[in-house]
Subunit: 336 residues, 2 copies
């Protein structure tokens, strides 16, 4: 299988689960009940590789922001911090949110398009947790969830895609409509309601009920594959079209600025990095590995910068740090 | 003597001369008279190193434009092309315009601040020409010229200066006033009335009458030296002031864009090149030789590009050529 390195950024699998005999998180009777669920989930995972448990009322604002920026928790997990927690593995690609909308939101993120591997990883995690707790399950409906949109498999398969050519070509609205008819949705990268940042979209299944897990995975994979082919054809058109020089110019200038600046905001980096990726995809910029640009953008998020610098930095100090780091980083990944 | 490499771009000496017994160019009686003056001047110079003679009615529009862009002729020389000509030496740093405002306008341009060398070079040229023609000279007034502002020595000593810090600091208006009181003027680089392009100004003596040539040279040199010191102090202030980061950022980005773009207009190159020079002057950008940037801007003027490409190019083709050439050029002059 082609993993569409220049188009698919990451694959995410998320499972929603709830414990039998407990009200959904928004209706829990006491903090004690919430803590019990946290305890059960962690003891289930203790059999697997090392997971660290973070109680949400025990993390600082900066730490919480960092977890959100790295997609390890959702902003909603902070709504009731006395009752919520998260389990995170050492590699930081698997997390289990506890007492968000459902008792458990288990998820894993992998690079490139690899739905099966991500799903198998989550099945293993899910299996471990189910060893210490009984999930709320109905023979007819499947897994029970707080919101009916997650009912059934509780599975959400999401693929983050980099679609500059389809965006610039004005084709995304049409694609979003077609995708919706196939039971999938397209969103910005920070989930529902967020705008498409840096030409990046998240494609995921909408329907969780009345379909099997393999059917969901196959459906998403098929649509993602089709969109990748459309994007590739559109890139071809862009590279040979009337505005090719304009695009090449913008891509090169974006690379030039990122390689040479004294301060750089997170928003500007995100925007210019998308142009650099587009330039690499169209062959205007030679990069050793196009996915390194995603890694850079992630590393340069405010909270990750402060973690790297090991101290609190002002916005301006972060912008200076980001500019210097980005320049060095790009130099490294463009050297042959 | 310090030659202020980071501040003084070039020094120009110009002598205005007229032949005795001939009306000034605007009052010449016939084309025949004009041709005679051209012949006399060229035969005078034939004793010196090789000069080529260009009749203005024999050059194409592109060639004429190139001569103007390279400061070898003034636009005014084209006003009456049947009667005007120019003599240019092989190095293209000495030119003698014939039948512009005066019968002869002899000039030479040298890099950096070197008024004496430029004046001696022109004296030699002037001496050669005076061997074949008698200049209009009055014991009381000195050399007679078409315009009274050139009367006397007929000498104009101009120094092209790069003054970014004084410009950004808003100090130029005050300097221009002070300089005027000392009998000097400050103009944009294409002479009277042109705006200061790329932080570059031309400082020259206004008074030519009632002073000796050495007094003029000393006066200009002294003022230029003072302005250089003011500029240096202001650069120091800039580099340590509140907006230092802003300025560094703009200088670096300008360098980044010039090193990485697919098309580049002459105006943008001029503007960004000035920032690169400023960045080099402030130590933000390491260049082997700061004057190479002036060389680049000169080489990339439209007519010079077409001469280098040896064919007529559209504006867009020139912009692409300029972008590619500039990128390669900057790479070369930043390598250690």
């Amino acid at each position: 299988m082609d993993n569409y390195a220049g188009t698919v950024v990451t694959t995410r699998i998320r499972l929603a689960r709830n414990l039998e005999g407990y009200p959904f998180p928004s209706h829990l009777k006491s903090d004690k009940q919430a803590k019990e669920i946290i305890r059960l989930a962690s003891s289930g995972l203790s059999r697997l590789e090392e997971f660290r448990l973070l109680y949400m009322d025990g993390v600082t604002e900066d730490e919480a922001q960092s977890l959100i920026e790295n997609h390890l928790i959702s902003p909603a997990l902070l709504n009731n911090r006395r009752r919520s927690a998260v389990l995170i593995n050492r590699e930081e690609n698997i997390s289990v949110m506890i007492n968000e909308e459902d008792h458990l939101r288990e998820q894993c993120i992998v690079k490139g398009l690899d739905l099966r591997f991500a799903y198998e990883t989550m099945s293993e995690v899910d299996g471990c947790i189910s060893g210490t707790m009984k999930f709320a399950f109905d023979e007819q409906l499947g897994y029970l969830t707080a919101c009916p949109t997650n009912l059934g498999t509780g599975l959400r398969a999401s693929v983050m895609m980099f679609l500059p050519a389809l965006t610039l070509g004005g084709i995304m609205p049409r694609i979003m409509k077609s995708v919706a008819r196939l039971g999938l949705t397209v969103r910005g990268i920070y989930g529902e309601g967020s705008a498409a940042e840096g030409y990046t979209y998240q494609i995921s299944n909408e329907v969780t009920l009345g379909v099997t897990e393999p059917e969901i995975l196959e459906g998403v994979e098929e649509v993602v594959g089709k969109i990748c082919k459309l994007e590739e054809a559109e890139r071809e058109r862009l590279a040979t079209g009337a505005s090719a020089l304009e695009i090449q110019d913008e891509c090169l200038r974006s690379f030039g600025i990122l390689s040479n600046c004294a301060k750089l905001s997170c928003e500007e980096l995100t925007k210019l990095a998308a142009n650099v990726k587009l330039g690499a995809a169209l062959g205007y910029i030679k990069l050793n590995d196009i996915s390194k640009i995603d890694e850079l953008v992630k590393k340069m998020r405010p909270s990750n910068i402060m973690e790297a610098a090991a101290k609190k930095l002002t916005a301006l100090e972060r912008d200076v740090y980001r500019a210097q780091y980005t320049g060095r980083f790009l130099k490294k990944i463009t050297q042959q």
